[in-house]
Amino acid sequence: MEYMVSGRTDTGTLRKSNQDAIDWCVDERSGQALLVVADGMGGYEGGEEASRIAVDTVMEMLAPALTEGMPPEFRRERVQSALDLASERIEVRKVQAPDLARMGTTIVLAWVSGNSALLAHIGDSRCYQLQQDTLHCMTRDDTVVQSMVEDGSIREQDAPNVPFRNVLTRALGAADATATFGEVSLASGDQLLLCSDGLMEALAEEEWHTRLLQAESVQSGVNALIEGSLEKGAKDNVSVVLLSTV
């Protein structure tokens, strides 16, 4: 199976800095791809730095594993150790620079190999699968609000008014860096979309769908989503990494 990957991150219309970070790599020989999106927090500088550290560490640790052709059963462990290292590096920076003490980041990554993908995430950046004409969210947000909706404490429509709506239950740079893992099987023509919450906030999911279906290439698909968010006045940073299978 061949992969086409593209990605883009934008500061949005209101913020001064982009605290999101993205990256991806494709190894054609082994038929594998790695996609990452991180959304930093904790002040301008902190947010930028935390997401950058997370993405860089993940790429540094996992990109070589793509070429090595690591057996699937070891991949989770490898991903978790990369995240542990990223978490450790963020902690070190926090100690060095007291101004960054509140920094942290979400992360979502997809390790695509053959017709399946290993997903790992911490926080509320998401991974979606676009299959023919249905869009599925493959990750569960690590947020207080999500827990409240799930345990029936609140109705979904109340979520935007909840006082703690912005609080993550887990983040890279907080105490516990254990990721939630998932597996996705991919059929030819499927698309895998990684994004930060800026996309969800700015553009309704129904719109992604039509925009992606109209796109002629992965790149134009990514652009369609980002431009669409900006047209809607995206307040937050918006990031998208899109993988298309052929």
Partner: protein, 535 residues
Amino acid sequence: MSAITFVFERMFSLRLLVVAAAVVFAFAGDSLPLLGYLDRMMFSALEDATGGAIDARELVEPAWSAAAIRGALMAGAMFLVLVVPRLGGAAALPVVLLLAGALVVLQAALMFYQKVWLPLGEVVTLLLAGYLVMLFWLQPQRTIESLTGNVLAARTRLSKLLLRQGQPDEALEVLADCPPDDHTLELQYDIAIQQERKRQYDKAGATYQQILAARRGYRDAAERLAALDSIADEATRAGGSGFDTTRTLVMPQQSVSRPTLGRYEIEREIGRGAMGVVYLGKDPRIARTVAIKTLSYQAFDASELGDLKSRFFREAEAAGRLSHPAIVTVYDVGEEADLAFIAMDYAQGRPLSDFCRPDRLLPLSTALTIVARVADALDYAHGQRVIHRDIKPGNIIYNPDNGELKITDFGIAKIADDSRTRTGSVMGSPLYMSPEQLKGHKVTGASDTYSLGVTLYKLVSGQTPYQGETLAALTYQILNKRPRSVREFNKDLPNGVVRLINKAIQREPDKRFANAAVMAEALRRQASRETAEAS
């Protein structure tokens, strides 16, 4: 280049014409027959007067004559160009006439007694003609000078006004074209001090530099500049690019002016609240001590700030309308470049959170009375359509010495929490928050009653009805579980108090006390029962 423009701009002036005339007279005077007219007239006049006693052939023209005439011409030109403007047209007239007369007399005397021929006529001509020319120059010059004076005076006044209105940058800008005289320097100095107070240390430093460039050693500008530089060093060492909620205002050393917020002089930091740093300040006009709570903008994104500010000012104004002995009076709200602030009565005493440790609880009747008084104040506020939103022991200041009680932070405490994006762990706890508030439903007076119920729970037991390791766990419990009975923590609690607390912290707002006044009434009944039993 600037020298050329300087010369060029001043070349086409009537004053130059006078100087040029003097030069022409000096070096080409002989070829201008008109210039000899006065001398010829003088000669014939003297001849007539003496009845031909003077013979032209007897007169000697000394060797120094030409040099003397030239010197006199130059001196005359200098007099016209430099002295006449100082004297003014009218005052210069007698001087010019006197000089011209003296020269004529001198020439006659030399001729008559010394037999020396010194043709001073050229000099007299220059003086008289030059004076006329200078009159033409003086007239517009006076207008220009008076206009310039007016403009400078107006600029100085405007600058003072701007400074008084707290706009030092604009005040400085207005002064930009004024020559650095005493007035200007003094004003610039005042501006620099105000910039210092507003903690715009970079700008203040630039202003001091400007002053020092104009006059070295002006007052203590140099020392102040040095002090500012050391503050800047400190800030860089701290590694901060700006202030955040956890950072205090830099409290500068003696040689730098005390910072101000609005008209309040900051004395010291007294604490850190939900929004940001709290300062003890003083209103210099009426010597009133105030507590100033600040909301630092640095912690927020530009996208949230507009909304946040308008909410802050709306809530602060609503709180400002409240006037109740048990509610902290809000005097003022204001804004600086990097923060908003609210100035309120400085309540002496300790927050009730100081009396919440299980081994350090207040006597039951005291706790009940305090909570009853808080309920009264809440009822008053609810009547004014103001909801506190964050009733908890930390927001109630109690003075054990005189029994005074003050509720602080009406409406404003929750603002920062709600707006901040994903601060993760740094966030107010929902321990005292009502279920409807947690769900994001409309907050009413009943929510305050609930929070007050939890406060009472804490005051009589040292515990809260719900406990959870994480925010998610705690939220789940508050929304879905039965509270632990307060009796579990305090076995001696009378049934009445337990019932009262249970009613106040009902999950359904309708099942709680009908309003805060009803709760106050129940609390007081219980308190008097307590006192009766105790005695």
